[in-house]
Symmetry: C2
């Protein structure tokens, strides 16, 4: 394919909270041929009932796959790899495939290495996860104002990169960026994985037991993401272990510096840190929807 438009035949594989969000966003935007393959027949029924897709099935529908010009994989990393191995003979030449995987170092080069040479995989990461899983929690609105990252390698063409970027725009993302695999995984170790480690730690420390009737919003905010899909996140952590360990160590070091300021009663040093934090945080506000 050379262009993404309302007539493009798009197949979403895996209709969970993210795949479902893609289906809604594209169909509501005007894309006429958004289809899906997903494991549970009830999820197909849900998507049809909610006008999210043109067609869906829980089977490996050979004609459907062959007809697809753009295929989006919204699966766990190891399931994604197996699916491609088992079914890539059904792709048509020229098909572009993309994904939503949260860690890139393992999966991207693996898929590109095993993939047929007449099909191109361009990887992307929509930065809009939810703490709930399942298609019934999918929501196209979460992409509005959010960030979308394209992760090309030297195997990718300008055409595929442009199509993948346009997909991000069409989904409603506010900022589309490009990062290398290494840049992406280092960034994600800090912004996403470290924050999940902190939330889980806060929520499982003895001090948090029974405190729900005293809490304010600070603690609620810092632990919202402690409602975590343990299977998916432990897999993502393991795939990015070295980068995440480095970010955890760096955080501990900085946290300890702050602790020492407090211990020696250095209010000025704490205030200086707080002012830097306040100023930097301004930049991270989400654009108004």
């Amino acid at each position: 394919m050379t262009e993404l438009n309302f007539d493009t035949k798009i197949l979403i594989v895996g209709l969970g909270v993210i795949g479902g969000g893609y289906a809604k966003a594209l169909t509501y935007r005007g894309y006429k041929h958004v289809r899906c393959i997903t494991k549970e027949p009830k999820d197909v029924d849900y998507a049809i009932a909610h006008g999210m897709i043109e067609y869906g099935t829980s089977e490996i529908d050979e004609a459907l796959i062959a007809e697809s010009e753009l295929i989006v994989f919204a699966l766990y990393p190891h399931v994604f790899r197996e699916w491609v191995e088992d079914n890539q003979h059904l792709f048509s030449p020229g098909t572009i495939i993309t994904d939503v995987t949260g860690v890139k170092s393992g999966i991207v080069r693996e898929i590109q290495a095993i993939l047929r040479p007449d099909v191109e995989f361009i990887s992307a990461h929509p930065m809009a996860g939810r703490e709930k899983s399942g298609v019934e929690y999918s929501n196209a609105e979460v992409f509005r104002g959010a960030n979308y990252i394209v992760v090309p390698t030297d195997k990718n063409t300008e055409n595929a990169i442009a199509i993948c970027s346009k997909l991000g725009e069409e989904l409603g993302f506010a900022k589309i960026s490009e990062l290398s695999i290494e840049e992406h995984d280092e960034m994600i170790a800090f912004l996403s994985q470290l924050t999940h480690c902190i939330a889980v730690t806060l929520m499982t420390s003895n001090s948090s037991d029974g405190l729900e009737k005293y809490t304010g919003d600070s603690f609620r905010d810092l632990t919202r993401i402690a409602k975590i899909n343990d299977l998916m996140w432990s897999e993502l952590f393991m795939q990015n272990r070295e980068a995440l360990l480095a970010e955890m160590d760096s955080f501990s070091k900085k946290f300890n510096e702050f602790r020492e300021m407090l211990e020696r009663g250095d209010a000025e040093a704490m205030r200086s840190k707080m002012r830097l934090a306040s100023n930097r945080r301004e930049l991270f506000d989400k654009p108004t929807k």
Copy 2:
């Protein structure tokens, strides 16, 4: 005073984001005599223009103070103490005073020690801070569904405790609890102060520099409170230093345990922590407004 009702003459001292929220909540609820004393004349003008108060002034209005039955102090801790020292001769006998201070060990016994014996101070903590300061950001809605903690000592009467609890109900808080000074400060070190230390650390680590165009909501959530009033929070941290240091150490220990699970590749141990975190976090969801 022996009863809080719509005719009670209430004085709010310090019309910032919390004092302003109290004024709005009480006036909109039906309280007829909500008045204020605050430093800036423009804040009085704002409150009058928005129908938040019956009367306000930036002066030490002797008649106003003498007439007040319930006085709420929404000031920085050190300003609160000075205000009481300078002006308590103007209180009428039987007046009840309360506060919104975030740390109790320093201020409560200090105030109770210097206070006239015919006036009673009952301390409270509304768990509904905002990252913005100033009366123009005040909002009575933030109290809905939130927690309110009364912190009595052996100097308090049942009457004052009941009035202070009723104030919390009238403001719209969902859960009213009682804690001792020590319980309160230990709880606040964990739920509120530790979380602010984490947010500031995340926001001032080198890794966060320039990452705004890649971020997702996890990092935004964990750093919302990094927009911090540095003067107030450094004062609160110093007033609760020992408890906060203990919570920081406890967090570091648990965080390091998680790091070790990741380093040795123990996905099962990580998953077990994540499941505990998810289950516990359910309890912390805010009641629907």
